[in-house]
């Protein structure tokens, strides 16, 4: 059993991609992973995915339920924290190089653990984040900070291609 083809085409409009696949099995069920998360179990041989600007989407398709997807380096970090008595909300902040910038607010709703998944972070750069509990008295509590050196699939470079018929040389330059 094997996936025999996996192709993608960009649909008019820019953000949507149609991914098609096939298998050498007679009537396979397909297990479609976005990143390393199972997103779709289907008999269909295609699906459409939206890829926002600056994002890379890794699609893995298997015709075997037991197949294990490869590790995907998508540049996101999941932050979890326990609830704190007296907290009204938790503010997620990112260090932008000069100051802490608020990125997300999580209301205290009585859960035991909270989780926040960051957007895709810059490749080969240290990301600094912190969780700031904010009390019902609106006072900030002590932040919990951590940092993480991000390694992910890099962004494609923005380049131009030019060919000189006299020299026969192709030159690729940054935009």
């Amino acid at each position: 059993m094997a996936i025999t083809s996996l192709t993608s085409e960009r649909l008019p409009g820019g953000q949507a991609w149609r991914v098609r696949w096939s298998s050498d099995l007679a009537d396979p069920t397909y297990y479609v992973y976005v990143g390393d998360v199972l997103a779709l179990t289907t008999k269909r041989t295609w699906a459409d995915f939206t890829v926002r600007a600056g994002e890379t989407l890794a699609i893995q398709v298997f015709d075997d339920a037991a197949a294990v997807p490869a590790v995907v380096h998508d540049g996101r970090v999941a932050i979890t924290w326990e609830r704190r008595d007296g907290a009204d909300l938790y503010r997620l902040e990112q260090w932008d190089g000069a100051a802490w910038a608020p990125r997300h607010e999580q209301r205290e709703v009585g859960e035991w653990l909270y989780q926040y998944t960051t957007p895709v972070l810059d490749d080969c750069a240290t990301a600094r984040w912190r969780v700031v509990p904010v009390g019902t008295n609106l006072a900030d509590g002590a932040p919990q900070e951590f940092s993480w050196y991000v390694a992910r699939e890099p962004d494609a470079p923005e380049v131009t291609y030019s060919y000189d018929p006299v020299t026969g040389l192709l030159t690729v330059e940054a935009v």
Partner: protein, 635 residues
């Protein structure tokens, strides 16, 4: 004997005080034992964890056929308000039920003797439900270490070696054990080696200045063994971490500890790091899917030979992760090295529509930003003679494509004769020389076609009722009459409710009704020709002849002579098909025929009675009645 905790425990070193907190793996360089455990697994809790239950530590044990089976999904289950069980990954059953009271920190063991979860009841809430706990090797703990990034380029054997000091404690209360520490490197290639060092009288081990410096007097072996560790006692453990010379974003390292005690105990400590090389950072130039050049910086130059090259530059980081392809740029190089511009993709959804008054609209779309060869212009080829446009010989209309993601062509073809066959070829093109205005066009050859139309459909006379009972007399405006052909000579069409009459001054040529052509003129047959300036025009006009010519496609095909009282055409066809027209005029020229229309005063519609063909044949959709007198025609 039974034990309420794992047989061995592993701790950081580098504490300021004996047993003081020191959780930083980078500072675990020997010295005093820390009171902070080494976490050999990362525990990832489910979206709905058990309320009020904190996991402090997970001790992993190998299950199944290898050490990697220590990792995976385990299950914590509340079997009562104060009781829990732990089913470790790849074990088929849970371990014994364990009581965990509020505010207590308790080991919950699995079936295997050393696999266990250390939990704390933080809240008084009763335990309930079950939760999945996924175990993974942690990144950058003391086993995995910091990323091993060197200048490179790396070749096999360029290993990065680092040392760390740890402390192993015998958790038995009465049993002296032999401890083994050994490397596991299946299926991973990076590994640790180990060596023991007895603690000194103060309970400390030697200190190394940094992770790159080997401890003195320690022999590192694949399987290190320390015998006779008394109950509750600790021994120093040095690990020598070797991250091999292979750039990789994921490096996994496993250390296993083993106690000789009963129950026999195995402990798995995993760690992850990354192996990088600064020299890997840069750009890859791919040509037809093969990397042909690498460079740390841009620009990149590369010689191209004759052929088609689908080139794309990808970015690579220090861990050998490479950006995904977004779409190659195509360059075709000719035999002499000249640039043969790749044709752009053809347009999307090209169509041609007939509009009123003989015009037509050509529409097409393209998205230059998504095309490998981005077009700069539209090229529209049009033919109006029923043949397909030929890009090799025809001159197209060129329309610039405005930059942007979505582009729409709207090109109007000017008014043509009714019924004109319109053939259109729409292409995208790349302008290769603005001065010479040369272009490379898309390769599509599909010809679009439509037929010119001047008039839309007519409406039959509407009716109306008052209160849905009483008919309403509507007063329709009759068509304009006369319709002059030559006012000076009094040659005209007279439009009446009965039909359309053709008058040559005082002589009635014919009357066309919706059912008949009535004429007292003689109909004769001959091939006629001669250029015509208008569809209906006057020819000779004197005592010898008074000619009215009706032409088709610029050629005279019907002659009326009001002196000889004859109508001449090539032939009369009363069985042929007449193509109806909605033209609201007595005579209407079309692309390859001219029609004679009749006004139907009953329906209020113009109908096609006669059609003069390009070959001079007069097709009649009505009966042809040759009558003796003009009065009879008007009767």
């Amino acid at each position: 004997m039974s034990l309420d905790r794992p047989a061995l425990s592993l701790w950081h070193t580098g504490a300021r005080l004996l047993g003081g907190a020191q959780p930083d793996p980078r500072l675990s360089l020997g010295g005093k034992p820390s009171g902070t455990r080494v976490h050999g697994v990362e525990w990832i809790r489910a979206a709905a964890p058990m309320r009020g239950l904190r996991i402090e530590h997970v001790e992993a044990t190998p299950g199944g056929s290898g050490p990697n089976r220590a990792f995976g999904a385990g299950t914590l289950t509340a079997t009562g308000a104060n009781t829990l069980t732990w089913q470790a990954p790849y074990e088929s059953v849970a371990g014994p039920e364990t009581t965990v009271l509020p505010e207590q920190t308790v080991w919950v063991p699995g079936v295997a003797p050393t696999g266990a979860v250390l939990v704390t009841r933080v809240l008084d809430d009763a335990l309930s439900g079950a939760e999945t706990v996924v175990l993974r090797p942690p990144y950058h703990n003391v086993i995995g270490g910091d990323d091993a990034v060197t200048a490179g380029p790396i070749k096999p054997g360029d290993d990065v070696i680092r040392y760390a000091g740890l402390v192993v404690r015998n958790e038995h209360t009465s049993e002296t054990v032999t401890v083994k520490a050994y490397r596991i490197h299946y299926p991973w290639l990076s590994y640790v080696m180990a060596g023991f060092e007895a603690l000194d009288a103060a309970g400390a081990m030697q200190t190394i200045p940094d992770g790159a410096t080997a401890p003195v007097g320690v022999t590192f072996v694949d399987i290190a063994e320390y015998a006779n560790l008394p109950p509750g006692a600790s021994v120093g453990l040095w690990i020598k971490r070797t991250v091999i010379g292979l750039v990789s974003p994921v490096v996994e390292i496993i250390l296993q500890l083993e106690s000789s005690a009963v129950p026999y105990g195995y402990h798995i400590y995993g760690g992850m790091t990354r192996r990088g090389a600064l020299s890997s950072t840069g750009y890859l130039l791919q040509d037809n899917g093969v990397t042909v050049a690498t460079s740390a910086t841009l620009p990149i130059t590369h010689a191209l030979t004759q052929g088609t090259h689908r080139v794309e530059v990808l970015r690579r980081n220090r861990y050998d992760l490479v950006s995904s392809p977004r779409g190659a740029h195509t360059i075709v190089v000719g035999a002499g090295g000249e640039h043969e511009q790749t044709p752009p993709d053809p347009p999307h959804e090209a169509q041609v529509y007939a509009r009123t008054q003989g015009r037509a609209l050509v529409e097409a779309h393209c998205v230059p930003a998504l095309m490998a060869s981005r077009p700069t212009h539209w090229r529209v080829y049009v033919r109006l003679d029923g043949t397909d446009p030929d890009p090799a010989t025809d001159t197209p209309v060129t329309v610039a494509i405005t930059p942007g993601r979505w582009n729409r062509l709207q090109h109007e073809i000017a008014s043509t004769l009714d019924g004109t066959p319109i053939r259109v070829l729409v292409r995208t093109a790349i302008q290769t020389d603005p001065e010479l205005e040369t272009y490379v066009e898309s390769a599509n050859t599909d010809v679009l076609s439509t037929t010119s139309r001047w008039y839309g459909p007519q409406v039959r006379r509407p009716r109306a009722r008052i209160e849905d009972r009483h008919g309403q007399a509507l007063h329709y405006a009759p068509p304009a009459s006369p319709v002059w052909i030559d006012p000076a000579r009094n040659v005209r069409w007279a439009v009446t409710d009965s039909g359309v009459e053709l008058w040559a001054d005082t002589s009635l040529v014919w009357v066309v009704t919706p059912h008949e052509l009535r004429t007292s003129y003689g109909i004769q047959f001959a091939d006629l020709s001669g250029a015509a300036a208008d569809t209906v025009e006057i020819g000779q006009w004197d005592a010898a002849a008074r000619e009215i010519w009706i032409s088709v496609a610029g050629q005279r095909r019907m002659r009326v002579d009001a002196v000889a009282r004859t109508i001449t055409v090539a032939a009369l066809d009363t069985a042929g098909e007449v193509t109806a027209s909605d033209a609201p005029v007595p005579c209407w020229p079309r692309y390859d025929n001219t029609v004679l229309q009749v006004w139907d005063g009953v329906s209020g519609l113009w109908e096609t009675a006669l059609q003069l063909q390009e070959d001079g044949v007069l097709r009649a959709a009505v009966a042809v009645a040759a009558l003796g007198t003009e009065a009879a025609c008007l009767a």
